[in-house]
Symmetry: C3
Subunit: 255 residues, 3 copies
Amino acid sequence: MAIVTLTSDFGHRDAYVAILKATLLTLEPNINIIDISHEVEPANIAHGAFVIGSAYANFPKKTVHLIAVDSLGTPDNKFIAVEIDEHIFIGADNGLMSLISEFEPDRVVLISEGEKTSFPAKDILAAQAIKLSNGTALDDIGTEYLEMKKFLKRSVKANKEEIVGHVAHIDHFGNLITNILKRDFDILSKDKKYTIGIGKEYIYELNYSPSEVDAGDCFVLFNHMGLLEIGIKNGRADQLLGLEFDSPVWIKFNN
Amino acid sequence: MAIVTLTSDFGHRDAYVAILKATLLTLEPNINIIDISHEVEPANIAHGAFVIGSAYANFPKKTVHLIAVDSLGTPDNKFIAVEIDEHIFIGADNGLMSLISEFEPDRVVLISEGEKTSFPAKDILAAQAIKLSNGTALDDIGTEYLEMKKFLKRSVKANKEEIVGHVAHIDHFGNLITNILKRDFDILSKDKKYTIGIGKEYIYELNYSPSEVDAGDCFVLFNHMGLLEIGIKNGRADQLLGLEFDSPVWIKFNN
Amino acid sequence: MAIVTLTSDFGHRDAYVAILKATLLTLEPNINIIDISHEVEPANIAHGAFVIGSAYANFPKKTVHLIAVDSLGTPDNKFIAVEIDEHIFIGADNGLMSLISEFEPDRVVLISEGEKTSFPAKDILAAQAIKLSNGTALDDIGTEYLEMKKFLKRSVKANKEEIVGHVAHIDHFGNLITNILKRDFDILSKDKKYTIGIGKEYIYELNYSPSEVDAGDCFVLFNHMGLLEIGIKNGRADQLLGLEFDSPVWIKFNN
């Protein structure tokens, strides 16, 4: 069965997710619908992009990812389908697509020029998602689109002396996930000692797993996404370290 | 695969939903179970009826909708299966069924006269839902029942001068969904200007989509259910407009 | 389709659950994944054990239950697969397994000696869960393990004069679920009157269903798990009775 994933800011209190699923299942009863998250903060594009960005690569190539975050759009908003890293993403042209991955999209098509509906995920995106999951090519559901809305990702400054990044996501456990990549760290840290600065804390050693520290202690590691992550074992790092979304985190290399 | 939907006030903290699913799957491994919502407020019949009422028509005809909201019943409560608009609903005879739809039920059967269990969704409703989803007729699982508990829906007053309705639901985004139907508005508004009154705000024009307004502005539209809905783009209309469940909303026609 | 259930403390805000599902589906597209709960309190072993313990017996025998609660472990933590009552549980050797059931495990195997990963549910448990769900024997995925970490369950004192137990779980509705078994009560209560003590309240009669009492009144019954449960109809017993996790509850028999 082909897979369609859903990421939205719909929450669990209403029937919006179920209405979307019913629409998908009516179009294609043999579809496997997997929820990524419906607890994205309302209209928070950065949050939505982080959630789908952290998950998509674990699904098989060609999976269709329907994204209904801030999906109502503005008058000039359009709906697009994007291919990145052999995955297909479909949603509003609100900038979220440009924040999902460090890769540039391989292709972007414009699906609709703003058909008027108060529920575009159901009325526009569902039908196109099913077509795409059935193997229809991107070019057959829209026209090439070169003006996709782009937001700059919070940049990481990396040189021989230091890497400076930011908190990109605070998860359910209160762990702080940064935009600092293991790949960059590995290149720059060769044979060097380092100091990691998190708020007022200095850390001199990376962990491999939270299992290395005791309850209440801080761990710093590169996580399953290859991103620097800071946590307090059995505690909330965001509260205990006083950091929030976008707070700076740095690594200095000592020669 | 036949579909059974689930709507409950069970929440996500405990295993109640999973126990219900396990019971359904043990009876019929080839059933497609779709969650509508499990975040209905405990025993809130109006909330439960709105949620299932907003969703059911998007599912294929003959879908079975198991409703476990206030499903424990009272000594004289009974469990019923109801056919409305070619959909089948099964749950407690607690009045919720009468609030799902503007249509009168086509048929109501009494399933059980209150078998004593503390978990009727699992012990009574699951087995009947599976039978119904397999095509068993309503008459084969119960006896005709003419005394279904009925609550009056909050009425809408509609005449040539005005329509007066109420807030019927506040959704996850803080949008206010009223019981005013587009169908009534279309008939009464012909060639007339109108004023929409929401708390202390007056609105003179309907939107087609929230995409027509700017962030922070109010939109008023007929939604995917054909109901008048009021929201604040990227804000919570309930808090910003000071309205709550049951607050009046009116449309006056100017000749 | 074989069933794998998931119980975790991952919450619904992030993509952790979806990443785990993607990993399972990539390994075995024909697997039926059922969520038990992802709202277990972070690292709360007693909560996790109660949730999976209340649910597992409703699934078919041989179901594989993947448990990702406090699953990061400590340096000496290991990952184990356990057979209890013909069900298979897989997770960290953190003591949770010993609290699931009153039955002793029939078999315990050690899967891994702490491979270093920050996401063992995905990197270690998923692959083993799929093997087990495909019928691989426990002995083929690990070696016999006699040192499983054991916690003593909160004990129940039961004799001819009284049963003294404790609140083992507070559910979504605020109902208090104790560790007092109907089986023990039935043996000891024969032909005797009894007094049930809950905080400052005395109760002299058991209910069969909450449907026997009026809104706002207290009900006391043996629930679907055979455990003594105390609730307030349409209210929160935890708040109204002032009881919490671990509070004592007793039954005295009058001769």
